[in-house]
């Protein structure tokens, strides 16, 4: 299939998750909502169910969620609750609520209360001590709880062999997405910022086997093209999410391509694979243990600036001229790590801008001005 046709399919999925939910339900699949961050989706897949990513919405307005939370909360979490309350997610058979940030903690309670007569809520508390044996053990207990709750929804046990198979499917998908990120940079004339975001976003709303097959086809097509002679500039994106087509279009208008990303909704979610051998539950815990360089995770070497330096190095390695930080409004972890990210970027002589965003933004005039000005800075760095 031609590149354009494949990209269009991903774009359609990304633009209309609700249609995907309906499609899977009609095909007889049970669907489980998966909120951010780091939930072991493989367990949902292994149960023969469809994990459905919940990362808010660029099209909804917060209204019913106001009955539960004040205004000063991340719109992703608020809009997830909104969609659970307004019927958008009525077809779900359950929802997994991780609690790794201060908004998700109380939100797990609000969702459980609000959905008490509607939907099973599966609670997840990750350990911040990820690598020591006691952290692995706690993670194992948490993941076992998720497995048990999913088994209740499924109506039967989840076999270890099915989890191992899910790990293989997911590793393949992660590898394909990592390859796509590189190809998108090499072919940024074809895979523009909006297209790149749509392709990656679609992964949250498609069965990973189906998604990976299509993505590998796209990757093959892209690999066959000569590397483009890009006349514009390139940036690395960083933040929780940057999937708004209107906002990303501004990058295209200014000839800015995305070379790589440090985004929770994108690369942070597929950096680390799980072992395909041995006990699959342990493999999933080990996978979480190996996660690193993330604002949401505790860094045992906390007196060093590992995460900031990692991101600055990513900019250098990717061939980008600068970094754009999409600062999700009211996101404490991102905000707390900003001064040291800034420090590392400045030390590495990487220019950056910080764009304040939330999912209810409809006017991007201010962002457009900032991006336009930044484009000039990047141009001088080429």
């Amino acid at each position: 299939m031609a590149i354009e046709a494949l990209v269009r399919e991903f774009e359609q999925v990304a633009a209309n998750p609700q249609a995907q939910l309906k499609k899977y339900k009609e095909a007889g699949k049970k669907c489980i909502g998966v909120m951010p961050y780091y939930a072991p989706e493989e367990l949902v897949y292994a149960a023969g169910m469809m994990p459905f990513g919940m990362w808010g919405s660029n099209k909804k307005t917060i209204s019913r969620a106001k009955e539960y939370c004040a205004t000063f909360y991340c719109t992703i979490a608020q809009l997830d609750l909104e969609m659970l309350l307004d019927g958008t997610m009525d077809l779900l058979d359950g929802v997994i609520t991780p609690t790794i940030c201060d908004t998700l903690r109380p939100m797990s309670q609000n969702i459980r209360v609000a959905m008490s007569e509607k939907l099973p809520c599966i609670f997840l508390a990750h350990p911040q001590y990820r690598k020591p044996e006691f952290g692995m053990k706690f993670c194992h207990d948490q993941y076992t709880h998720i497995r048990t709750e999913l088994e209740k929804i499924k109506g039967s046990a989840i076999a270890d062999a099915d989890i191992s198979e899910a790990i293989r499917v997911y590793n393949k998908s992660r590898a394909a997405r990592r390859a796509f990120v590189k190809l998108a940079s090499e072919h940024c004339d074809v895979i523009t910022a909006t297209k790149r975001a749509a392709v990656l976003k679609a992964s949250w709303f498609m069965g990973k086997d189906e998604y990976t097959e299509k993505l590998e086809a796209l990757n093959a097509e892209l690999s066959a093209l000569p590397v483009c002679n890009w006349k514009g500039t390139k940036v690395v994106t960083s933040g929780i999410i940057c999937d708004n087509p209107t906002l990303l279009k501004i990058f295209e208008d200014n000839n800015i391509a995305i070379a790589a990303d440090d985004v929770a909704h994108e690369s942070r979610a597929f950096r680390v694979d799980a072992d395909e051998t041995g006990d699959p539950m342990t493999a999933l815990c080990r996978q979480f243990a190996e996660q690193d360089y993330d604002v949401l995770l505790y860094d045992e070497a906390s007196n060093k600036n590992r995460r900031g330096e990692f991101v600055a190095q990513m900019v250098k390695d990717s061939g980008a001229q600068g970094l754009v930080l999409f600062m999700q409004q009211f996101c404490d972890p991102e905000e707390m790590e900003y001064p040291y990210l800034k420090k590392a970027l400045e030390a590495a002589d990487v220019p950056h801008i910080k764009l304040g965003i939330d999912q209810q933004m409809r006017d991007f005039g201010q962002a457009a001005t900032a991006i336009q000005a930044f484009a000039d800075v990047l141009e001088m760095r080429k």
Partner: protein, 486 residues
């Protein structure tokens, strides 16, 4: 008149003892630092028993930030953190603490020529004559200021900049100009102790301090709990961390863990907790023998000195004072108690007088605060200690949170609930709307919410607060009338 004023200022032996405990904790840390000993900074609900076992001097940034905010320096310190790149959406305590860790200090403006402080003409209280009347300045027609109450301008300084100055007059003057109250004179840390049972923000806050000061961080991770019970899995996870923390402390101090000292600290912490609860329980009396706002001040002791015998004894003394108040029918509440409310959340420290004013005007006493059960935890042995530290205000599920609050609402006979939607505290404020619904449904009492902040005065709207208190009073009137009609 003058006599009456004097009588008002009489402070009971218990309160004096509690003040001394906190003063001593700070003074001991300053001495320790001067002697080259290690000083740590700790989150408020880190297991202090572990540090006590190593005889370590530990300071508490949350308590410090509250004090800085109450001393009206919250805004300048928050602003300093924002200038370092920390967003103004971040917790006010964290911002104040991070600015302080980076070396920023609220200081008094100095005239380097004269060496005098430059007075702020907008500060100070009106001068009064011997009859208590305001003295008017004939030249301006406005009240004269009492020079004794006037304050210098507050400016921001930086200890690292001062340290880099050559020895001399400017260096001396700038060092001396840093505000003298204890929270602005807290020694810089040599290690940090973080327990994120309070919030996840704490994790990143302490990581930032560790980076700024290049010091070790000892972390106790308490993942959020979805059930009232703390499961064995969670206990095992925390127990193992206690062991790891002990090993880290052994490395930092070069000392072996002293089990006897640890047991003594546990005994002290339990005794402090019991006496704290005993003091809190005096609010069950109707009318109460104290103002609930007193508890906000006494919290400093529970936070900074829980593991010290002096804190346990000071609370015992306070309990005796309160017993005496009951016997004599007096109270520290400076007005007759007409209504009783639970105050939900951390107070707005920079605006305590403003918080108190409409309560006083309407005869409202705060007779319940969630800090009572939150810090009144008693345990026996390490497993129970792990369970106890698992239960902080923001680490418990909604059912536990509601049970704590409804328990004290009933025991302390409240007529309504005043809820602080605290801009600084996402985990705390995040399920308050649902809690409010439950309080009203389960207890039949009205609730009113207001927007504020524990440390940043810019996030408090006095007009809104006053209106909400007024609304709550009207609803309480209706509730009381309905009860009486029955």
């Amino acid at each position: 008149m003058a006599e009456e004023k004097k009588a008002k200022k009489t402070v009971s032996p218990g309160v004096l003892a509690l003040r001394k405990v906190v003063e001593d904790v700070y003074a001991d840390a300053r001495t320790a630092k001067a002697e080259g000993k290690l000083v740590g900074w700790s989150s408020s609900k880190f297991p202090c028993e572990l540090a006590e076992a190593f005889d370590l001097n530990v300071m508490y940034p949350e308590n410090q930030a509250a004090g800085i905010a109450a001393n009206r320096d919250g805004e300048i310190m928050c602003q300093a953190a924002e200038d370092l790149g920390f967003d103004n959406d971040i917790c006010g305590y964290a911002r104040i603490s991070l600015a302080y860790a980076a070396g920023k200090r609220a200081s008094r403006k100095v005239d380097f020529e004269t060496g005098e402080y430059v007075m702020d003409p907008n500060s100070g209280k009106p001068l009064k004559d011997e009859n208590g009347n305001v003295v008017i300045d004939e030249a301006t027609g406005k009240p004269k200021k009492d020079p004794k109450t006037m304050q210098p301008y507050t400016v921001l300084d930086d200890i690292h900049e001062i340290a880099a100055l050559p020895e001399g007059r400017e260096k001396e003057l700038r060092l001396a100009a840093i505000k003298p109250y204890r929270q602005m004179q807290m020694p810089q840390p040599d290690f940090v102790l973080c327990c994120n049972n309070i919030c996840n923000c704490m994790t990143k806050w302490y990581e930032n301090i560790a980076r700024m000061c290049n010091i070790p961080l000892i972390m106790i991770d308490i993942p959020y709990n979805n059930t009232v019970e703390v499961h064995d899995s969670n206990v095992a996870y925390v127990r193992a961390q206690f062991d790891a923390a002990i090993r880290q402390l052994e490395e930092i101090t070069g000392k072996k863990f002293d089990e006897k000292k640890f047991e003594q600290a546990c005994a002290n912490a339990n005794r402090t907790a019991q006496n704290w609860l005993k003091v809190c329980d005096y609010l069950q009396y109707k009318p109460a023998p104290m103002s609930g706002f007193d508890l906000f001040n006494h919290m400093a002791d529970v936070v900074t000195a829980r593991g010290k015998v002096e804190a346990a004894e000071a609370f015992e003394l306070l309990a005796q004072d309160l017993e005496e108040n009951i016997r004599t029918g007096t109270s520290t509440l400076p007005f007759p108690e007409k209504y009783r409310v639970m105050f939900e959340g951390i107070p707005c420290w920079p605006k305590l007088p403003n918080l108190f004013k409409p309560l006083k005007e309407n005869g409202v006493n705060v007779t319940a605060v969630v800090y009572a059960p939150a810090f009144g935890f008693v345990y026996n042995g390490l497993d129970e200690m792990a369970r106890a530290y698992y239960k902080a205000p923001n680490s418990v599920c909604i059912e536990q949170g509601v049970a704590w609050r409804e328990g004290i609402c009933v025991d302390n006979k409240v007529d309504g609930v005043l809820v602080h939607y605290n801009r600084s505290c996402k985990p705390w404020s995040g399920y308050m709307a649902e809690m409010q619904r439950r309080f009203t449904k389960d207890l039949g009492i009205p609730c009113a919410g207001f927007d504020g902040d524990q440390a940043d005065p810019r996030n408090f709207n006095e007009a809104q607060y006053t209106t909400r208190v007024q609304g709550l009073v009207e609803a309480m009137d209706a509730g009381i009338a309905a009860k009486e009609a029955k």
